[in-house]
């Protein structure tokens, strides 16, 4: 069978581009670490968050990265669990990147905590408070990383049977991690725009979109880095997956909006704020237009069968999912919480805070992206991840 002839290689990693990327990501890390220690000393005073919007861009990025990670791990199991052998060649790279991205997401959590040095408390006291989705998530992430490493080890050694079992466990954990991510928001009774059992499902769909998009982009970027040819069939095949998940996402997003429109508290003020408020341009332009409508258009047209078309659609879809998380998380907090149902709060207390990303938050995010980038590049040099022939 064709997949048995796949050869994998480490990259040499001696090109100028490789070292240039290492330096660039290194600078990102320095920026992030500097900001982290500054925050430790001065508190979160430089962050864009407030008492009205306590969770800012780092939290948005954590959810975005978690989605990418879980999506990547799910796609890495296509060959070993679902029997789609034509996609086996990308399993290693997808599983490795999934691990690295989730480690990045966990690092970002540290960067966002008010007391990062007390994070150990989650593991000390957390087992007694598993009704908290946060506590549960800490153990889910740890389990995800351990099982994903075991799965990667099994596929690196071509232990097919073991890889199937571990891959199945990875699927369960990926879905759990993403569903739990959606539950962080969906379980909040006091947040009108979040409270929904549908949110975990929406998050899973978003994870599939961002996971496959990331896979497409990273495969193209990595093969370009090594100046190796790429099997276009794999990329266009993933393009079909992307199209399917984008259509499902569009449908779910529509259902969610209609539900809120139909039975909204306080005469639909929440939905009005979401669709026409200060963050609505991100929702309509970046998420709906750039993130869903245009990629679907590209993938349905002739360009969807070409490499450049799939790459463009993937890039836009990734941006779209980031915008989706941004609008949901930020708008959901900034919507004024009614204290007496149906009666608006007047004056200063009734006005939104209007969050904007601060330089400090961007530094923390850059630091994590730098860390992910360096780990990935070093991994390519240490492990045989890249298929040389498919």
């Amino acid at each position: 069978m064709a997949y048995k002839n796949i050869e994998y290689n480490k990259i040499e990693g001696k090109s100028i581009v490789y070292y240039g990327l290492i330096i660039l990501f290194g600078l990102f890390i320095v920026t992030g670490v500097f900001e982290f220690f500054k925050t430790l000393q001065t508190g979160q005073v430089d962050l864009g968050v407030s008492d009205r919007v306590p969770w800012g861009m780092p939290i948005v990025m954590i959810e975005f990265l978690k989605g990418i990670s879980a999506g990547l791990l799910l796609f890495s199991t296509l060959g070993y669990v679902f029997g789609k052998n034509e996609y086996r060649s990308i399993s290693r790279i997808a599983a490795f990147l999934a691990i690295v991205v989730l480690i990045g997401a966990m690092a970002m959590i540290l960067g966002e905590l008010g007391k990062p040095l007390r994070f150990i408390n989650v593991f000390i006291y957390g087992p007694a408070y598993l009704n908290s989705v946060f506590a549960l998530n800490s153990f889910l992430y740890s389990g995800f990383i351990v099982v994903a490493i075991a799965y990667l080890w099994s596929i690196l050694g071509e232990r097919t049977q073991l890889a199937r079992y571990l891959g199945t466990a990875c699927i369960v954990l990926s879905v759990a991690v993403i569903a739990a991510g959606g539950s962080i928001f969906g379980f909040m009774i006091g947040r009108e725009l979040w409270y929904s059992p549908f949110l975990p499902v929406l998050f899973i769909t978003g994870a599939l979109v961002s996971g496959v998009s990331m896979l497409i982009l990273i495969l193209i970027a990595t093969t370009k880095l090594e100046s190796k040819p790429i099997d276009e069939k794999i990329i266009t095949g993933f393009g079909k997956y992307l199209l399917s998940f984008l259509l499902i996402l569009a449908f779910f997003a529509l259902i969610e909006a209609f539900t809120r429109m139909y039975g909204n508290e306080g005469g639909g003020e929440g939905l009005k704020f979401f669709l026409t408020g200060p963050y609505s341009s991100v929702f309509w332009v970046v998420y709906v237009l750039l993130g869903i409508a245009i990629p679907i258009g590209i993938l349905l047209s002739g360009a969807g069968k070409k490499l450049y078309g799939v790459v463009a659609a993937s890039f836009l879809a990734m941006i779209g999912i980031l915008a989706e998380k941004y609008t949901l998380i930020i708008t959901g907090q900034d919507l004024v919480q009614q204290q007496v149902a149906g009666r608006a709060i007047m004056g200063f207390e009734g006005m939104p805070a209007v969050y904007s990303v601060s330089a400090a938050e961007l530094s923390i995010i850059l630091g994590v992206i730098g860390g992910i980038g360096i780990l990935y590049l070093v991994g390519l040099r240490m492990f045989k991840l890249l298929p040389s022939r498919t």
């Binding site: 001065t42 508190g43 979160q44 005073v45 962050l47 968050v49 407030s50 008492d51 009205r52 919007v53 306590p54 969770w55 966002e112 905590l113 008010g114 007391k115 990062p116 007390r118 994070f119 408390n121 989650v122 000390i124 006291y125 957390g126 007694a128 408070y129 009704n131 908290s132 989705v133 946060f134 506590a135 800490s138 962080i184 909040m188 009774i189 006091g190 947040r191 907090q333 919480q337 009614q338 204290q339 007496v340 149902a341 009666r343 608006a344 709060i345 007047m346 004056g347 207390e349 009734g350 805070a353």
Partner: protein
């Protein structure tokens, strides 16, 4: 079991904000700068809001409404805390915060339907006029109203009576010039709060959410 509650008579409230100042002074709650005001970084364990009632400009009717932690029977903030830093004390039913355990994840702020949890963005310096009975709070943690638990515990230790009209009460209740607030034990049928709730129509904030707040409003 004692379950403390507060009844606020909105017909008496004049919106003077004496309760806000009393709370800040009693609990050493940091004051806010104009920059913090603009950024909505305001630590106010007790605040006064205006809620629209009915009518159109210029004939608008509104309620001036003091808001504080509702010390819910079913508190969403306690459910979400990953380290048990936020907990509901059995004796008294107050929702309290273990400052030394809080990791600053701010999940409780997200979960609270009443916006009554506040993050310390900066280090809080210890000032000479701060109340020595109240523990200091440093940067990076979340703080909130305690129902002046230090007062109540001290009163219990000294064998004093707790609750309106002649017992020890939280600072906001004591400071109110109009006698808007009544504090006492919800489980004691002879307490002032029980009598008020039995005799007057009342409501709780967002009772539809199932949090069962311990703050009741008479309107």
């Amino acid at each position: 079991m004692v379950r403390y509650a507060m009844v606020i008579d909105l017909d008496k409230c004049v919106g003077c904000q004496a309760c806000v100042i009393a709370c800040k002074a009693e609990n050493s709650v940091a004051s806010s700068t104009p920059d913090e005001y603009a950024k909505k970084r305001l630590t106010r364990w007790n605040r006064v809001i205006t809620v629209y009632k009915e009518g159109k400009y210029p004939n608008v009717s509104a309620s001036i409404m003091p808001i504080l932690c509702n010390h819910c029977e079913n508190p969403p903030c306690v459910k979400v805390c990953p380290v048990g830093a936020t907990y509901k004390r059995e004796d008294g039913g107050m929702v309290l915060q273990r400052y030394e355990r809080c990791i600053g994840c701010k999940y409780c702020m997200i979960a609270c339907p009443y916006g009554q949890r506040f993050f310390n963005f900066t280090e809080q310096p210890e000032l000479e006029y701060h109340n020595p009975d109240v523990p200091g709070r440093d940067a990076g943690i979340v703080e909130k109203c305690t129902f002046c638990v230090h007062r109540l515990d001290k009163a219990i230790a000294e064998g004093k009576k707790i609750g309106s009209p002649d017992g020890v009460v939280p600072a906001c209740t004591e400071a109110c010039p109009a006698g808007t607030r009544t504090f006492g034990d919800l489980d004691d049928p002879d307490s002032e709060v029980s009598k008020l709730l039995a005799s007057r129509r009342n409501y709780q904030l967002r009772a539809d959410l199932g949090t069962e707040p311990h703050i009741y409003y008479l309107d």
